[in-house]
Assembly symmetry: C2
Homo-oligomer: 490 residues x 2
């Protein structure tokens, strides 16, 4: 989840100053307009220790008219608070209509900390998060907005910042957080996955660069306020439009920029590895069959990224009785007449079998989002629907591997042209492929959101470098072997 | 929960034939109109063994055009089904847009049975129900309707029906279900409480009288279809209107008809009991204080039913340091500016203290519903919001007692007139009281829904017979003593 956020985006000071200067009056104007509506806004500031949450709270107080903003730091519980139900302290801080509350620490803090430090089991975290989901749904149902920010920094950056405090003492608490970085990441990822809803989505922000962090926060907040006001103007009781992009043209960087496409593999090495992993896969798939473990593999990627070729290398290593490949094109009449997930449920493998999906349910948050076939409310809530779906499979015992085959735009162009030269490959390039190419950036943003929001402990994404087809195929085969092996070991 | 359903409503054959004859063409017409929309309807038939679920499924197939209805009995899992994730079998049965699926047994069956028979703990039932809630929300978000029927019969009726089978053999399964009647009731109540949402509410139906059962089913189904069509006609993607009344003027009976208002108490006996329970309450409240247990008591009831008098008899038995009485009138500006539950959160007692609410959050589903201050979508989802709220208090350790003070309309009239005679009580009778009296039936229906939907294991309603004020006061005092005693014992 967080890998997709770590994009090391940097904003030069000049750009920052200029963009912020343009944003600030808009923010204020939106805030004043909010006063006339029946909505209130709850801003939740959370994230990794050392990411600068306190700075962000100060920033918000600079940007907004503080007469109608109240900041609440949920620090140690007071005696008054401890003696009442958990949510009591948060209800005290609920902003009246027309105003804004900034919550530094929130209903997420205690559950995440307790689970990260091993005091709560995951089941208890899950129950707490289902209460949080209820609370947030109740608030948004009533017309309030819940804007959730998660600020992420890498372990390295965290250590650097704690050291960088110079004379200032690093507290015992900070040291303890830093020591348990990995546990905090896991607990946070779980909390985010369970509460990343269409009505109150998370905004995951890379906080390594302070200017990027601040600008992104301002932009998202403005977007939320604008959407909220548009809904109010349209007479809608309940806000329906939400935007929560992990990445945006702000810096041009997306998760795909961290895929190392320069790797290549020599033919000889490739042949050896191909044979090795296909043999291994063959053995593992039979073992999984006997152990009644099933596997679902999802293949997504750019046009001409080599999905078909990769799938063929996988199936060459499988007994034909054990797998099926489901190619997802336009839905049939039967499928169109039902919920979008229905067509995928149909083809789920039985225990002991494997289904490979050539394109998948992720169409909802890729092509349907980019082309506008699904409304924003529909694709925004799809992340949670998809995570729920995959967790359901996982709980049954099905293992899941998901691949995004990545190539650069230049490589795609080369392949398109190449295909047009070859008589028997010509049909593979259509007008649509060229059209999709125009929307490269929109797709890259959608992929970044997808990877950030749906990379879960039980169904992680693998970003496959695809400029060299051999590297791509070996990466896929190896990952599938590892997935099956882990399933058999568990 | 189920007590409020057991109303022994009976429909004479002549009325039944006439009403059904009027309903059937309307049902068919609505079904044909549904074909033109993008919605589908899933009808879930569940309930107590012996309540006639199978008959209902047959009835639905008689009433509707079977070309666009498919019935699915989720009986023993097939080999194909067992080897896939739990929901797979249900997804196979999802109806295409424009058509209807009747599910005899459903995603509720296995969790309820497993928990009732002690094979699943409550935590596992809770997790399963949260998955069900997700599934149903996903379907209704996509524009489908989920109409859920729960057919209830009393234990006595169940035994009679099983015996009544005469020559037919009572199966081992039926005997086992009958033996565990109480466990099934508890498991079902929990499942219903967790999934009684605004988007897919439960319809609880008294199935003792077959004609009432059938007529009520037809009426509710017609209402759902009509609402659904109205939404579709208004261009709404997502159905917003829902009706799921437990009781309705169909037979005129409500939960209040089972309150025995004829009981009286002699003065001498009253004095003795009053002293006894006030003393007991005093001791228990101090013990609870030392044990840091808090108590919330909710007083609702008809105008002039004697809420104030009952509360004064309670407080006379308490140390003034330990309790506060919160009288809920029109909300203040501060309160109006926030979520309707906010004003109640404010006044929650600390551990070791007691709060008595003279009227409460139930205003949302009583006066706000009847007077139309809250929209149907708002009060329909309020049942779940309120149950969530009370469970939150319960999990913290707060104990909850809820009283509905009931008097007959005749007794109310007598009291109104009496008050008008007495100079210092005159002010207590306003125009509004007379207006509310006009809506007696609407309120009685709202009370029935409220009691059925919010009587939970952790926060049960006590229906207090109020025609004799002495009976009412002793009932309240006794219940509070029992609640505190149970809290101290647990």
């Amino acid at each position: 989840m967080f890998e997709a956020v770590e994009l090391r985006k940097e904003i030069p000071k000049k750009q920052f100053d200029k963009e912020l200067a343009a944003l600030r009056p808009k923010l204020l104007k939106a805030q004043y307009a909010l006063r006339e509506t029946k909505s209130s806004v709850i801003i939740i500031i959370s994230g990794v220790e050392g990411a600068g949450k306190s700075e962000i709270v100060n920033r918000l107080n600079e940007w907004l008219d503080t007469r109608w903003v109240r900041s609440h730091a949920f620090w140690e519980e007071s005696d008054e608070e401890r003696k009442r139900p958990t949510q009591w302290r948060f209800w005290r801080a609920m902003p009246p209509r027309g105003s804004i509350a900034v919550m530094f620490g929130s209903w997420y803090t205690e559950p995440v900390v307790k689970h990260a430090l091993g005091k709560w089991k995951q089941s208890r975290l899950d129950v707490a998060m289902s209460h949080v989901e209820q609370l947030e749904r109740m608030l948004t149902d009533d017309g309030h907005m819940v804007v959730k920010f998660w600020y992420h920094i890498s372990r390295k950056a965290q250590q650097k910042r704690l050291r960088g405090k110079g004379g200032r003492r690093v507290s015992k608490l900070e040291r303890m957080y830093a020591k348990n970085y990995r546990n905090f990441q896991d607990a946070s990822a779980r909390a985010i996955r369970l509460t990343d809803t269409g009505n109150a989505p998370w905004n995951l922000i890379d906080a390594e660069d302070r200017r990027y962090r601040d600008l992104k926060t301002a932009k998202i907040l403005l977007q939320f306020l604008t959407d909220c006001l548009a809904d109010a103007a349209a007479g809608k009781k309940k806000p329906t439009r939400r935007d929560a992009r992990v990445s945006e043209p702000l810096s041009g960087k997306t998760v795909l920029d961290i895929v190392d496409v320069s790797r290549t593999l020599a033919d000889k090495e490739y042949d050896a590895e191909l044979r090795r992993y296909q043999d291994e896969l063959y053995g593992l798939s039979w073992k999984a069959h006997r152990a009644e473990r099933s596997l679902v593999a999802v293949f997504e990627g750019w046009d001409a990224a080599g999905k078909g070729g990769a799938i063929r290398r996988v199936t060459a290593g499988l007994d034909a009785r054990l797998y099926s490949v489901i190619s997802i094109a336009a839905p049939t009449d039967e499928e169109r007449a039902r919920h979008y997930l229905w067509r995928f449920w149909r083809h789920l493998p039985r225990d002991g079998y494997i289904t490979l999906y050539d394109r998948s349910w992720y169409g909802r948050v890729l092509v349907e989002r980019v082309e506008g076939f699904a409304g924003q409310d529909e694709w925004m809530r799809a992340y949670q629907e998809i995570n729920d779906f995959e967790e359901h499979l996982h709980l049954h015992g099905t293992r899941i591997a998901k691949f995004w085959l990545h190539i650069t735009p230049e490589e795609q162009l080369r392949r398109f042209k190449e295909r047009q030269q070859i008589e028997w490959k010509k049909h593979k390039i259509t007008e649509e492929d060229w059209r999709n190419r125009q929307k490269w950036n929109d797709y890259a943003i959608a992929v970044t959101d997808m990877v950030a929001r749906t990379s879960t402990a039980f169904a992680p994404w693998t970003l496959v470098p695809g400029n060299d087809k051999k590297v791509a195929r070996i990466t896929v085969l190896k990952t599938l072997c590892e997935t099956l092996q882990a399933a058999l070991d568990s």
